[in-house]
């Protein structure tokens, strides 16, 4: 692998996932989307089904709830920025593709992958990337100036809340993907 990429990657676990034929109804309910039984990542998380279920429904509402707020493309941008800052190559690849697809701005997304969260962006993306990266710092680095920049870029409170949730959620997701396995080139799977 050669750094961050928007190409499709695989992911291989370092611990043994549940086998497909070990999945009970409770496990399958925890997967939410039945097709996820094919994924070793979700079958590994199924060792603790209640937390997996909560994780997945939270994820879906933060990214897919279309009742106002931030457009999907920019929720994915926040996810990509958090993943880029934390160093999750796999998460960044998935959400960079979503961000590029929904925004139709693949070059801007590629620049975020190539150069990092400091890469040039227009004012609105600058504000979203900066807020996401600041929130990703430990201790947290989000300041009133970040919120002012988001407001100046046209985001209302619900949209700002969506930036916060999308970036915060990837601080959850990144730590699972990074610590329980590793990315692999699709061809190596």
């Amino acid at each position: 692998m050669n750094g961050f990429t928007g190409e499709q990657l695989g992911w291989t676990p370092w611990l043994e996932p549940l086998a497909v034929d070990e999945l009970t109804d409770e496990h399958r309910e925890a997967l939410v989307d039945k097709a996820r039984a094919a994924s070793p990542y979700f079958r590994l998380l199924a060792h603790d089904p209640h937390v997996l279920h909560a994780r997945t429904v939270t994820d879906n509402d933060i990214f897919y709830n279309a009742d106002g707020g931030l457009p999907r493309a920019e929720r994915e941008l926040a996810a990509t920025a958090a993943s880029r800052r934390n160093g999750c190559v796999f998460c960044a690849s998935v959400h960079a593709r979503f961000a590029a697809h929904h925004s139709k701005r693949p070059d801007d997304v590629q620049r975020l992958l190539d150069e990092g969260v400091g890469a040039d962006q227009d004012d609105r993306w600058r504000a979203i990337v900066d807020a996401s990266a600041a929130l990703t710092a430990t201790p947290g680095g989000l300041t009133p100036d970040h919120l002012s920049a988001l407001r100046a870029a046209g985001l209302d409170d619900l949209a700002i809340s969506d930036v916060i949730h999308a970036a915060a959620f990837f601080n959850w997701a990144n730590r699972l993907m990074l610590s329980l396995g590793e990315p692999v080139k699709e061809a190596d799977r």
Partner: protein, 197 residues
């Protein structure tokens, strides 16, 4: 402390019923409800499973403490003080020892990002006898996940395994640290948004 009657993010962010932030959160009702269910599943599980309640609250107090977010640190220290007051002093000492600013760390050679490696402290538990073998390994792993997640490795999981953590236990521990990284950030972000309104 009564689980299930308070929404922890509301409490940490200081969100009152009917306030503008409360109404905002209710625009994402599934996310609001299931963030709380995640907390309940981790801290009031139907069965302890492979991670004891004391271990859960001790790791949470440590993780919240090193985030240096006062409401979250106070909330999780308060839980530990109720469940295992004898551990409180040891955990406080570890929070102090684990103080750092992240994310930092070295990328695995396989991802080809050596040019972006950044240095930072590699925390080791100050008083392993006070914590015991399992919690010592859990605190060191939690610190790795909080501050240098890019350095997570198969070897880090082996260290947990040698300390008695099995696969379901490691999954729950990882979820606990990762979930808190989310919860603390949402609460901090909303608190700031409320203050700026």
């Amino acid at each position: 402390m009564t689980i299930g009657t308070i929404d922890v993010i509301d409490r940490l962010a200081g969100i009152a019923p009917g306030s503008p932030l409360d109404l905002l959160r209710r625009r994402r009702p599934d996310g609001r409800e299931h963030a709380q269910r995640g907390f309940d599943a981790l801290f009031a599980p139907e069965t302890e499973g492979e991670v004891t309640l004391v271990e859960r609250d001790a790791v949470a107090a440590f993780v919240a403490g090193v985030h240096r977010d006062a409401p979250a640190a106070g909330f999780y220290a308060g839980r530990l003080a109720e469940l295992a007051p004898g551990l409180l002093e040891a955990v406080r000492a570890e929070i102090e020892a684990g103080s750092a600013s992240g994310p930092y760390g070295a990328y695995p050679a396989s991802v080809g990002l050596a040019g972006e490696d950044t240095e930072g402290p590699r925390y080791r538990v100050r008083d392993p006898e006070a914590l015991g073998v399992r919690l010592t390994a859990a605190f060191e792993h939690a610190h790795l996940l909080v501050f240098r997640p890019r350095e997570a490795s198969r070897e880090a999981l082996d260290a947990l395994s040698r300390a008695g953590w099995n696969t379901p236990g490691i999954v729950t521990l990882s979820q606990l640290v990762a979930f808190l990284s989310f919860q603390i950030r949402v609460a901090a972000g909303l608190r700031l948004l409320g203050a700026a309104a």
